[in-house]
């Protein structure tokens, strides 16, 4: 188990390195130019060349990549080429904002979707199951910006319960923050709901049809006891893996939701820095997103191993 974990962790670093190379290469082969982004369309070629020189953007690509990588690994993430601010505190603040949004979404959606998925699984093919499955299937299929705009119009504009722009002031308290973030987190929850509920349902259906559950029921144990003590433990294993991979997918949703609600998070940043060819910011943001993504998958696998002795003791 420990060896397996080490091997998985060992794969994370080369993967991150590959991501950094890919982004650097992509940013270089394209016609866009950071000097143009900063100076706008009316600058003379000389001015643009001078700025490129000042930014160090006129050195050969491998030299710049090596210089960037060398300082990145020792914690110097450089300055944003567009905003002229150090990248690290800026990106980390954005990360905190996005984490707050993601945590709210996950804390609300996991219990609800697990609960409804289990109910559906226990009522296979009956009306409750069909209703939950169809609603889940439909909600999961709707892009975040669509459900986001609908809740924005209903709860933000018509009812006026929530702000339509999620930018809590600097000294905002927890309640105020939650109030601002609830609306943007709803689209994220709707997309996750269907996936998690479907996995929980499938796990439940499979386990309830197994021999050991039949034995438990036939020997007269109360149904509630069979479900809680015997079934859930096995039924939810695949679901945990799915939740882990969905955390990664959540980041994709963050790009959309943060754009819609103009919320200063990591998703908006990855979009803005890619559009603005701001390579230091883009690299830092993309690597953070990739690292979170890989670690959440790894954590899910670890949790499954902890819950399942058959995996824990093999290898």
């Amino acid at each position: 188990m420990a060896r397996c974990l080490l091997r998985r962790l060992g794969l994370v670093l080369p993967a991150l390195w590959l991501v950094s190379v890919l982004i650097f290469a992509l940013a270089e082969i394209v016609p866009g130019d950071v000097a143009r982004t900063i100076l706008g369309p009316y600058a003379t070629p000389d001015q643009a060349a001078a700025l490129r020189h000042q930014l160090g953007a006129d050195r050969p690509v491998p030299v710049r990549y090596a210089a960037w990588l060398g300082s990145f690994v020792i914690g110097r993430w450089g300055d944003s080429m567009v905003l002229h601010r150090p990248v690290r505190p800026f990106v980390l603040a954005r990360l905190r904002n996005s984490l707050a949004l993601a945590v709210i979404a996950l804390v609300c959606v996991i219990p609800i979707s697990l609960g409804l998925g289990i109910v559906a699984g226990l009522n296979e093919d009956r009306l409750v199951d069909t209703a939950i499955s169809l609603i889940g299937l439909s909600l999961t299929a709707i892009p975040e910006f669509v459900s986001g705009v609908i809740v924005l119009v209903v709860f933000g504009v018509q009812l006026g319960w929530f702000p339509i722009i999620a930018q809590p002031p600097a000294g905002a308290g927890l309640v105020e923050r939650l109030h601002d973030l609830l609306l943007p987190s709803i689209p994220l929850m709707l997309v996750l709901f269907g996936y998690i509920a479907r996995m929980a349902r499938a796990g439940m259906v499979e386990v309830m049809a197994s021999d050991y559950i039949r034995t438990a029921v036939l020997k007269g144990l109360p149904l509630r006891y069979v479900i809680l003590r015997h079934a859930l433990r096995n039924a939810l294993l695949p679901t945990i893996t799915v939740i882990g991979s969905q955390v990664g997918w959540l980041v994709g949703g963050l790009v959309v939701v943060e754009t819609l609600f103009t919320y200063p998070g990591l998703g908006k940043l990855i979009y803005d820095s890619a559009v603005g060819h701001d390579v230091p910011v883009l690299e830092a943001t993309a690597l953070l997103v990739a690292a979170i993504f890989m670690l959440s998958n790894l954590t899910a696998d670890l949790l499954v191993a902890l819950l399942n002795p058959r995996i824990r003791y093999s290898d």
Binding site: I23, L26, V30, P31, T130, S138, A141, F145, V149
Partner: protein, 281 residues
């Protein structure tokens, strides 16, 4: 004997009935939007591109059923015409990913060996990505256009198709008809595409319908992020992004295209669910 889960009462008839009704409704919605995408020039009450400076942001009325947008254009006409871009991009991307994925899956599954290993590692890597992120980064850096959106979706989706095809091919290649074809001296290209491919069509169709649902989702999202088609296109995602600024004074301008896209994705997914169940039985 199967150990059925303990039932407390009631029979699954109602549930099944609801499912078939949902499949039919989903199919009808898809047919409607395909019709709108093909014939919007005929059925739109106004020219979706004609600006009307006299009445910007007019609320829904008898004259303009769904109101007008910030440039005074008729929202209903733009919503009907807006079916065309997404119903071009999503099917085109799906078809390309099916072509690419089928070829990769057939070759990998049939030849196995090192090629299969390398391809499947690559597939695992692409599959684990949250599609929107790489698509956003690549499109923002490389350039925004409809063609690039189609290519990006096709490239990101074909590994998923490849995996499905490969696992079907792994079963088929052990069958007797493949042995017979080999003994007959058929070339492996012929065996792959003319012997095995016809036998893996049903998982391929199911995969195609599922991918189509995701392609509509992704195409809409990339349009919303303004990484694909540009104004003045009536594309739904783009319209939501552009009219977002007027959400407080004219919510109908964003609500109409949003609900249109919601109905299309739900329709496609319900229909896909029906196809999957029909082919599984």
């Amino acid at each position: 004997m199967d150990a059925a889960p303990p039932r407390v009462g009631g029979r699954p008839v109602l549930g099944r009935l609801m499912r078939s009704a949902a499949v039919l409704a989903g199919g009808a919605v898809v047919v409607f939007w395909v019709f709108a995408a093909l014939e919007w020039r005929v059925i739109t009450p106004y020219d979706p591109f004609a600006v009307g400076p006299a009445h910007p942001l007019a609320s829904p009325s008898r004259v303009h059923w769904l109101g007008t947008d910030d440039l005074g254009r008729d929202v209903l006409s733009r919503v009907l015409a807006g079916a065309a871009p997404v119903l071009t991009i999503a099917p085109a991307a799906t078809l390309l990913s099916l072509l690419g994925g089928t070829t990769i899956g057939l070759v990998a599954g049939f030849h196995r060996g090192l090629l299969d290993d390398v391809l499947m590692r690559l597939v695992d890597a692409v599959m684990s990505l949250p599609v929107i992120i790489p698509a956003t980064v690549v499109l923002a850096l490389v350039g925004r256009s409809t063609t690039n959106v189609i290519l990006a979706i096709a490239v990101l989706f074909s590994p998923l198709v490849a995996r499905t095809v490969r696992s079907a091919v792994l079963v088929e290649r052990e069958r007797e008809y493949v042995d017979a074809a080999r003994l007959r001296g058929d070339r492996s290209f012929y065996i792959m595409f003319f012997e095995i491919l016809p036998n893996v069509t049903s998982p391929l169709i199911v995969e195609g319908t599922i991918r189509l649902g995701y392609a509509v989702f992704t195409a809409g999202t990339l349009s919303f992020l303004q990484l694909g088609i540009q104004p003045p296109s009536p594309d739904w995602g783009l319209t939501v992004a552009v009219e977002r600024a007027f959400v407080q004074i004219a919510p109908w301008t964003v609500l109409a295209p949003a609900l249109a896209l919601a109905s299309l994705v739900i329709g496609v997914n319900l229909a896909a669910d029906g196809v999957r169940r029909a082919l599984a039985e």
